[in-house]
Symmetry: C2
């Protein structure tokens, strides 16, 4: 096991030690020591990625390193938290140097861009499994909670949701497209860009927020349930990328509304903050689009008696959407 | 997957929500929010447990729930940190209600005893894998770091190291004993008791500390390397439990010095703090035994030119111990 030890040391521990800044004490002791800035609290999230479930066995390890951290940074973004550091635990069947080199390069390129420090870890032999726990900081009064949506709020989404699911469909042979667009859609699946800058810019502007990992329809429902409200959503409002727009119309809608793995932010904000939302999006360099409205629950109306989404088309006419059964990459 | 969701919800999320006290925001949002008490920092540790590597496939799930948290609490103990909370990510091949019920019971019984709150998690389908990340708090000046051993320090160990390895040997058929002793040794392996109270009592008393997960000899070396010192250790000083003392003499020594999974604390303290160490151990209800001394490196002496352990017998005569090749449960 000596070679494993030295490989892990070369690609992770040495580097983490060299980059320790925020953690009082990092890799190599029983615990890392870390503290949020004065007046702020730590935001913590953990995600486990399993081969065959969250990524394909033949995934490019550089892309996997990127994505493993990206999905965790996305959780911080959805909370309006600034990245501080992360721990990485993984099991590997047999450590291969080329694999570790590429994986760690993909991981640290993203970590460096967001100034997010590896502060601890654990490695073991076993079926490929990656578990990251990420730490950020946020003033508690600015945290973008799921339970903070209010009736009358606009519902917004960032970016062009659906691209990742369209990319997965290409890999699965569910549909085809030209090579250029295929590369765009695969990139959305394999190298999602966490919306950290947008989350930070939305502090004090947005009410509720989350990141879209399991599909817009299902994830928005989490906000509705925790905020005890309903929503009226224009099914065609989420903007389509040029690449997605070339696929069949029903595929576009299903990908945009029920496709997972985009890691765009879905958030609510009061209508009098529309200019502030637009400014935040511009500052973050990402598009934000209004797709609907939060409504109060109405016990007298069976459509709005419980937290749920009422779909509309562009003309405002009710739409009966069937999004069930359109599975995305990780269906758990 | 609905039944999986509802099982996870019943055994983990519902309970975690009901018990949220320390976390400003716990399970159900993108991140948990948590802060250390004023003047303290967070101590963070992550451990991944894999079937066949850290536990046997036929492990009692109640014991596994206990041990998964115990090994993490032990990392806090070794830092002198007070438990606050933990995240739990796991993958399961197929969720069985009886398994989840027993696992969660073992986990939460220990969590409750140490007032350590589940603040977040992730579950997925996949080969059985458990990843816990634990959070504690400690005043930074009282953290028991591995790099704090000083020449002249006494070396101490808690409890009766070796029992867990002796228990593993019984399961593996490497040796046998009577049923009562077998139960004691198996319990040491399956239900280690984290030395949290001792770690807290050693704040301001001990210099360096760690928990013995991979064997006393190998783990003490981590303190020596990080503190840049050597050690003179009486190989027979670690006390043997009555159960271990009935096994062959060479087995006793190998188990006590090279056996892993005990999760006892090994720590150093200046000789003028011997009474304070004894008082701390008494307060924590655990035995602490002096087993040797930290010495300065001596470039002129090949035996002590680099961080290493010089073994002695009870009479003080040098001992040539071969501990290599005595593998314990997790050899990575």
């Amino acid at each position: 096991m000596l070679s494993e030890f030295s490989l892990i040391d070369r690609y992770f521990a040495q580097r983490a030690r060299a980059h320790t800044r925020r953690a009082t004490l990092g890799i190599g002791d029983d615990c890392a020591l870390i503290a949020p800035p004065p007046g702020e609290v730590l935001a913590v999230s953990t995600d486990m990625l399993v081969e065959g479930r969250h990524f394909l066995p033949n995934v490019d390890p550089h892309a996997l390193g990127h994505k493993a951290l990206a999905v965790n940074l996305s959780d911080l973004a959805a909370m309006g938290a600034a990245p501080l550091g992360f721990t990485l635990a993984f099991s590997l069947p047999a450590p291969r140097e080329d694999w570790l080199a590429a994986f760690s390069a993909g991981l640290f390129e993203l970590a460096d861009r967001y100034d997010c420090e590896l502060i601890g870890g654990d490695t073991t032999a076993g079926p490929l499994n990656l578990c990251l726990t990420i730490f950020g900081s946020v003033p508690p009064q600015h945290a973008l909670r799921r339970d903070a949506a209010r009736p009358g709020d606009d519902v917004w989404v960032s970016g062009t949701p659906g691209d990742a699911r369209a990319g997965l469909g290409l890999l699965r042979g569910e549909w085809t497209t030209n090579e250029t667009d295929a590369a765009v859609l695969r990139r959305a699946l394999e190298r999602p860009e966490p919306r950290v800058a947008l989350g930070l810019a939305l502090r004090g502007v947005a009410h509720a927020a989350l990141d879209v990992s399991d599909g817009l329809a299902g994830d928005l429902l989490h906000i509705l349930e925790r905020s005890n409200v309903a929503a009226l959503i224009d099914a065609d409002a989420p903007p389509k990328s040029a690449a997605l727009a070339k696929l069949p119309r029903d595929v576009q809608r299903q990908c945009a509304l029920a496709g997972g793995d985009d890691y765009e932010l879905c958030f609510t904000a009061p209508p009098d903050r529309r200019a502030a939302v637009e400014a935040a999006a511009q500052q973050a360099g990402v598009r934000a689009t209004r797709i609907g409205t939060i409504t109060a629950l109405d016990p007298a109306d069976p459509q709005r008696a419980t937290p749920s989404i009422s779909w509309r088309d562009a003309s405002g006419a009710p739409l009966n959407l069937t999004l069930q059964g359109f599975d995305h990459f990780h269906a758990d």
